[in-house]
């Protein structure tokens, strides 16, 4: 279970305050959507969950399965089950996607005290998950994210998620840069991972992603605070009225 308690955070470099007291509880099996206008702090929240050191938590805590994440380095959080699907996945030149997948998977297994996966077992898993996401073996031989189209990048993110089997998945604007067909493939990939032991925090601007990944709870983030919480219908309301009403409410 994820509990975010009165979380305040700022940009480490210049002290700009971004999050101004966020409270959020995500139970196992739940999908929470976080919506909000540009600059409301959505992406910052995802980075802070993953432990990016560009940000400084000044107050509050993030507790995951009884343990404060703030004390953990990003790789330790990953081993603890936190996964961030990046809005802009990073290129790693010269490193084949397949190599990256295996290195990451084994690093996490090692950190958890598990044995490395044998190559045949690893290949079996990769082939299965790749097929579901319409990822070809050829693409897996290419360097990670280098020259990938927008859709390929997002599918590669979901492939990593499917292989690493995290318990908390944070999706940062996974719908951006996707056409309708790609959106469907990616959403199906996410939905396949839904289960009683896995929580999702889905960050998005638009309702359209939530047509495919139907959330249990929707939050509206504005100026670093959650200003409204509701069910899936809240997303529809936002789609019709825009964010203006909520932004004003927060001011």
């Amino acid at each position: 279970m994820l509990e975010i308690k009165n979380l305040h955070a700022r940009i480490a470099e210049d002290g700009t305050e971004i999050l101004r007291g966020i409270d959020l509880v995500v139970k196992p099996g739940e999908v929470h959507a976080i919506m909000g206008p540009n600059g409301s702090g959505k992406s910052t929240l995802s980075y802070i969950l993953a432990g990016k050191d560009d940000y400084e938590v000044t107050e509050g805590d993030i507790v995951y399965n009884g343990q404060s994440l703030l004390d953990l380095a990003p790789d330790e959080r990953a081993a603890a089950g936190v996964f961030l699907a990046f809005q802009y996945p990073i290129e790693i030149p010269g490193v084949a996607t397949m190599t990256f997948l295996k290195t990451a998977l084994n690093a996490q297994r090692k950190a958890r005290g598990e044995d490395e996966l044998s190559t045949p077992e690893f290949m079996k898993r990769v082939k299965e998950k790749s097929a579901e996401l319409q990822i070809t073996m050829d693409m897996l031989k290419r360097p990670l994210n280098v020259g990938f189209s927008g859709g390929e990048k997002k599918r590669a993110e979901i492939l990593q998620m499917a292989l690493l089997q995290p318990s908390l998945c944070v999706l940062d604007e996974t719908d951006s840069g996707l056409d309708i067909d790609a959106l469907k493939v990616v959403s199906d990939g996410v939905n396949r991972l839904r289960g009683p032991d896995r929580s999702f925090v889905v960050i998005t601007h638009y309702q359209r992603l939530l047509d495919h990944i139907v959330p249990d709870v929707v939050h509206v983030l504005s100026k670093g605070r959650i200003v409204k919480t509701g069910g899936p219908e809240l997303a529809l309301e936002l789609e019709q009225k825009g964010y203006a009403d909520f932004v004003d409410a927060a001011a």
């Binding site: 990003p74 790789d75 990953a78 990073i90 990256f100 690093a107």
Partner: protein, 490 residues
């Protein structure tokens, strides 16, 4: 994939800043008196029972050297070297020359065992397929202590021995080729080497022979205050092929030591020479104290038509590296290649690159250089590509990539291009990048530690060059690179 994992394991298993080859072998050695003069040169020549012409050649070089001044154009800085404060000859007392393995001092055998160099012919390199064998010439300070697989190579007609032995056994071959690629007067260090060179390897592959195994020389500096002046000469006759690898290490000492080598390669018609280097001389300590000055002249002459010479280097050691393995593309349709990974960390300084001199028609060359700088190091690529008037249709492709790790290091690219022929086509691409915080964070988010992330990203960066190394050494090189970058993050 396995190599990446191996790199990571290796990085994990060692301490920061450990130069694992820094031990000293306690062995009695015989040295020439310190300093340099004509008597010292006579001493060296006499020690090696050289023919008279060789001594004359050396003395002539020495006299020439006295009139020369040290080059200062490289982007490296170091205190002036006192050439009279160096021992020019040091040899383990028990091993005056190459002999059979049974006669080699056990202490020396233990040293090479510790270095992971197989000298017993039934042994193989650690982690290598049982079938692949490598012949080794082991040079310890100023002498070659043993050369393996000589008999088997002889059956194929290949001569592989120390240059001292070659001077005694095959003087006509040495005389014909030595100094024909790097003239005695070439440059300050090459001229010094010509005067005082002590040992190195000699390879002769006769017409039409494909050398049946990898050849390698392993250079070890052990003695204090001793310079190592290696001389290597490789000749591939018409249609011959040979792949050769050199490795180098030295103990961890506070003072700087000089290694001034000359390597000459000659490829005749349709011949091919592949020369690989894994250079891991002691780089100096964390404060930049000690380390080897590696001032080396390496040049290959594609003398025959359709000949090919390929240099691959992985440079991780030495306090200062000054080295430009080059190709003279004399024969029509000849080809030169230079693949380089130069890693600098701590206070290391590297000024390295290549020269591709296109003289013949339809000659081609390819340069792939990957520089990685970390710590407070400076890493310069310096390269010349030139086309002579008659070099019609000369082609070159150059790619220079630099990767910076941290804020205090520097990467520099200095390409020179000269074309006197209108049909020549030279292409140059250069990039400089940093391991970005975003890349690090991305990898860490997927579960990789700092060091695993750097190892992975660097492995990706150098991949094109690693692929050029003989397979037996690719994994080794990859490990070495990771170790050299130990402690460069955070």
């Amino acid at each position: 994939m396995a190599a990446v994992q191996e790199t990571i394991d290796r990085v994990r298993s060692i301490d920061v800043d450990q130069y694992k080859y820094g031990f000293i072998t306690d062995i009695e050695s015989e040295k020439a008196p310190k300093g340099l003069n004509e008597d010292i040169i006579r001493f060296i020549s006499a020690k090696k029972n050289e023919p008279e012409w060789m001594l004359e050649w050396r003395l002539e070089a020495y006299r020439r050297w006295l009139t020369m001044t040290e080059p200062t154009w490289a982007r490296v800085e170091y205190p002036k070297i006192d050439f009279n404060d160096i021992y020019y000859y040091a040899a383990p007392k028990s091993a005056p020359g190459p002999k059979s393995l049974d006669e080699v001092d056990p202490e020396l055998l233990r040293t090479y065992e510790k270095l992971g160099i197989p000298l017993r012919e039934q042994e193989i390199l650690a982690g290598v397929e049982p079938k692949s064998r490598v012949a080794v010439d082991a040079v310890f300070d100023s002498v070659s202590v043993v050369t393996t697989f000589k008999e088997e190579l002889k059956k194929a007609g290949v001569i592989f021995c120390s240059i001292s032995e070659a001077l005694r056994e095959h003087p006509e071959l040495v005389r014909k080729y030595i100094g024909s690629v790097v003239p005695v007067t070439d440059n300050f260090y090459a001229t010094l080497n010509s005067a005082v060179f002590t040992d190195g390897s000699f390879v002769y592959v006769p017409e039409g022979v494909r050398c049946p195994m990898e050849l390698s020389t392993y250079f070890r500096i052990n003695e204090k205050n001793t310079g190592q002046f290696e001389r290597t000469l490789i000749i591939a006759e018409k249609g011959a092929y040979v792949s050769y690898l050199e490795g180098c290490t030295a103990p961890q000492r506070d003072e700087n030591q000089l290694h001034a080598a000359v390597v000459e390669l000659i490829a005749l018609d349709d011949a091919e020479i592949k020369y690989s280097t894994v250079q891991n001389w002691f780089p100096g300590d964390k404060e930049g104290k000690g380390g080897i000055y590696n001032f080396v002249t390496k040049r290959g002459d594609c003398r025959g038509k359709n000949s090919k010479i390929s240099w691959t280097q992985v440079e991780t050691g030495s306090a200062i590296t000054w080295k430009y393995p080059s190709c003279i593309l004399r024969g029509d349709n000849s080809r030169g290649e230079f693949y380089s990974i130069a890693v600098s960390n701590g206070y290391q300084q590297i000024d390295s690159g290549t020269k591709m001199i296109h003289l013949g028609k339809n000659t081609s060359s390819r340069i792939i250089s990957k520089g990685i700088s970390a710590g407070k190091s400076q890493n310069t690529y310096r390269g010349l590509v030139s086309a002579h008037r008659k070099a019609s249709n000369a082609r070159n492709f150059t790619q220079c990539d630099s990767l910076l790790i941290g804020q205090d290091c520097g990467a520099h690219t200095v390409p020179y291009i000269e074309s006197k022929n209108a049909t020549a086509v030279f292409e140059h691409e250069a990039t400089t990048s940093k391991i970005s915080d975003d890349q690090m964070f991305y990898c860490q988010q997927r579960g990789l530690s700092d060091e695993e992330a750097v190892a992975l990203i660097v492995n990706g960066f150098v991949k094109d060059v690693i692929q050029q190394l003989p397979m037996e050494f690719a994994v080794e090189a990859q490990k070495l690179i990771s170790i050299s970058l130990e402690g460069s993050v955070g």
